[in-house]
């Protein structure tokens, strides 16, 4: 008798689970979302996941998409492209998601790209690198989009500022990894257009802990300013080394570093450093006429006060990218439904979408849609970021 009861309970439970599963599949719109939740880039991937969940929760709170709730299927890419490929296939063929958000890093994104292209599932990535949405030798990018600005846009923003401030002769210091080299290539390509020349160029390993040798060589070339292109703690080490050597040339960092962490790691040595950033870090300083201001302040309110993420992950320049990706996809589903081809076409036709990281105007050629005006130059001032003069 006892056994019979147990068996019945298990069967009932099983039936219940089947039923609840089936019903949720009919009602909810599933989105795959995978980031580096562990591994070396987990400090970027974990807050990205939180923001994606926050965006979905807010959309559902407002009634979902046409009365249907969004449901995030979360995956951990572990910083491992092979794992990301497996997850992408699971999202597409098992979970039958309408679209995918993520992954975190360019290398992982490049592995996922051919898989989603083949299956024809719209994928909005939060990666930094441009090859994701470049054709030719990088493969097709019909279904792949990304929300962070291209390196090209950041370089143009920086060069515009340098030109306006008559800093034409610069020295370049970049990390010898794919991110640093990508930035260096764009700078060399765009320099003539802005009338900028390079007095010297040096590179360093992304894990290096001392750049005084490179900085000494750069100083000897007598430039007007130093540009450093790297992400992670290396940028802060460059700032500290520059301070140690007593080099009083202005230091410009790349768009990956506007983050309270940079100021924390570099300390007082970061004072006065300038870099291109999204408007997120200087929202309070934006003029009221700025069309993004309302969206950004709302995002900051949710992030800091409602969801309370900022104690563990203070807001940085990247915080809004997952929000933008999720909201653009949700908006497109509202217009076109979940049929992949129609959804793709609608995402591609997104115009004047006011996001946290900029105003998105996508075209068939530009699957990012952010232009130079989505970025501002910020400066470290008394331990915080302000608009650069």
């Amino acid at each position: 008798m006892k056994n019979g009861t147990a068996l019945f309970t298990v069967m009932a439970l099983g039936l219940f689970l089947c039923w609840s599963n089936a019903s949720s599949a009919a009602e909810n719109i599933r989105l795959g979302a995978f980031f580096d939740l562990s591994g070396p880039a987990s400090n970027i991937g974990t807050p990205t996941r939180l923001v994606a969940e926050m965006a979905v929760a807010e959309i559902n709170k407002a009634g979902g998409v046409d009365g249907r709730k969004l449901e995030l299927m979360i995956g951990d890419t572990e910083g491992n492209p092979a794992k990301a490929a497996t997850l992408a296939k699971k999202f597409i063929y098992k979970d039958k998601v309408a679209a995918i958000i993520g992954p975190t890093r360019t290398g992982t994104g490049m592995t996922v790209k051919p898989i989603v292209e083949k299956a024809g599932i719209p994928t909005f990535m939060t990666v930094g690198g441009d090859p994701i949405i470049m054709g030719g030798k990088f493969g097709s990018y019909e279904y792949v989009f990304k929300s962070p600005q291209r390196s090209e846009v950041a370089v143009k923003r920086l060069f515009t500022y340098l030109r306006d401030n008559k800093l034409n002769r610069v020295a370049l210091l970049y990390a010898a990894d794919s991110f640093g080299k990508d930035g260096a290539e764009w700078m060399e390509k765009l320099a003539p257009e802005f009338g900028i020349t390079f007095a010297a160029q040096e590179s360093f390993g992304p894990q290096d802990t001392d750049m005084t040798a490179q900085l000494t060589r750069l100083r000897n070339a007598a430039p007007q300013a130093i540009i450093c292109w790297t992400i992670g703690p290396a940028g802060a080490i460059v700032a500290k080394n520059r301070h140690q050597l007593g080099i009083d040339l202005p230091l410009f960092q790349c768009h990956g570093l506007p983050d309270p962490k940079y100021i924390e790691l570099a300390g007082a040595a970061s004072e006065g450093d300038r870099m291109p950033s999204t408007k997120l870090l200087v929202a309070a300083q934006l003029p009221d006429s700025d069309p993004q201001k309302k969206t950004i302040l709302n995002f900051i309110h949710l992030y800091e006060e409602v969801y309370d993420f900022d104690r563990q992950f203070p807001i940085n320049t990247h915080s809004g990218y997952a929000w933008d990706a999720v909201t653009i996809v949700a908006e497109a589903i509202r217009k076109a439904g979940t049929e992949p081809k129609a959804l793709r076409d609608t995402i591609e036709a997104t115009k004047n979408f006011i996001g946290v990281s900029g105003i998105y105007n996508l075209t068939a050629e530009d699957h990012n849609g952010l232009d130079v005006d989505s970025m501002v130059m910020v400066e470290v001032h008394q331990g915080g970021f302000v608009l650069a003069r």
Binding site: N43, T209, T212, T216, N220, I237, G246, K261
Partner: protein, 291 residues
């Protein structure tokens, strides 16, 4: 063209890194000398040194000298725990098994650090104020002087323990002949645990001294530890003098290669020279020849 001042600057940079490599290399050597194995948890003992310093300062609010001493002591205890609970229960005398065991333990330690201290980079304050000092036109941070000073003190202490104390005698005894040492009543297990404690203290000191410069994360010791390992090999694995010379030489090679030739290929140049040295002297610069 680099001037004499610039050269001095490169020299400081090289010696700073070199001193840290030397400390880590010494940790490798101490364990190698008593157990005959490469202890790969050494790299995590370096990270742990930084972590403990961070916690002592910000969690317990200790003043810097106490925090530094506490960090080194805690790293030494961690080393002992690794030996007692990680290595000894295997009851294996097979070196290959033991070395693999240390690799596994190293992964576990990194996982624990990730859980306890999180995945974010952290900033550790230097021992004293961060204002650079000018010396013959070159500049250096006070922290760099502390690194030289404390590394030298640690090396002298280590050599004194080995040469002039009963403990040192026991350690040398276990190293040269474990069976004979056991016959005369030396507890080899205890001596091995002490060697891990010394390795932990060396690694912990290196971590606590260098993380104000490099910033701190759970895997900060990996690359530093690898360089320390290379330094130990360069000097002849097991030799204290060799470890110090190897560390300083590697640091200088890196710095001068970056300064004089190419910053992009400095690691290639430094490690290429290291290979060259080992082709000519397979036992390392100060190695004892064939064992």
């Amino acid at each position: 063209m680099p001037t004499l001042t610039d050269f001095l600057q490169f020299l400081f940079a090289g010696l700073t890194n070199g001193a840290i490599y030397a400390l880590i290399a010494l940790g490798f050597c101490v364990v190698h000398n008593t157990m005959g194995i490469v202890n790969f948890t050494q790299v995590d003992l370096v990270s742990l040194g930084g972590m403990f310093l961070y916690s002592a300062l910000f969690l317990f609010g200790l003043p810097m000298p106490l925090a530094l001493a506490g960090a080194v002591a805690a790293a030494a205890l961690s080393g002992m725990a690794v030996e007692r609970f990680g290595i000894r229960p295997s009851r294996s005398g097979n070196h290959l098994v033991l070395i693999f065991l240390t690799i596994g333990l190293s992964v576990i330690l990194r996982g624990i650090m990730k859980l306890v201290w999180g995945k974010n980079r952290m900033a550790v304050p230097p021992l004293t104020a961060d204002e650079p000092i000018r010396l013959f036109g070159a500049t250096l941070l006070p922290q760099i002087l502390w690194i030289f000073l404390l590394t030298t003190a640690a090396v002298i202490l280590l050599i004194w323990i080995f040469r002039h104390t009963t403990l040192g005698l026991c350690m040398r005894g276990v190293a040269s002949n474990p069976a004979a040492a056991a016959v005369v009543g030396i507890d080899a297990g205890r001596i091995r645990m002490v060697s891990f404690a010394i390795a932990g203290a060396m690694g912990g000191l290196a971590g606590a001294l260098v993380t104000p410069i490099t910033t701190l994360s759970y895997d900060v010791g990996v690359l530093l530890g690898l360089k320390g390992f290379a330094a130990a090999i360069l000097g002849g694995f097991g030799s204290f003098g060799g470890a110090i010379a190897g560390g300083l030489l590697l640091g200088l090679l890196e710095s001068l290669a970056a300064a004089g030739l190419s910053s992009a290929y400095k690691d290639v140049i430094a490690f290429g020279l290291l290979l060259l040295v080992l082709f000519i002297r397979p036992q390392g610069l100060f190695g004892a020849g064939k064992r």
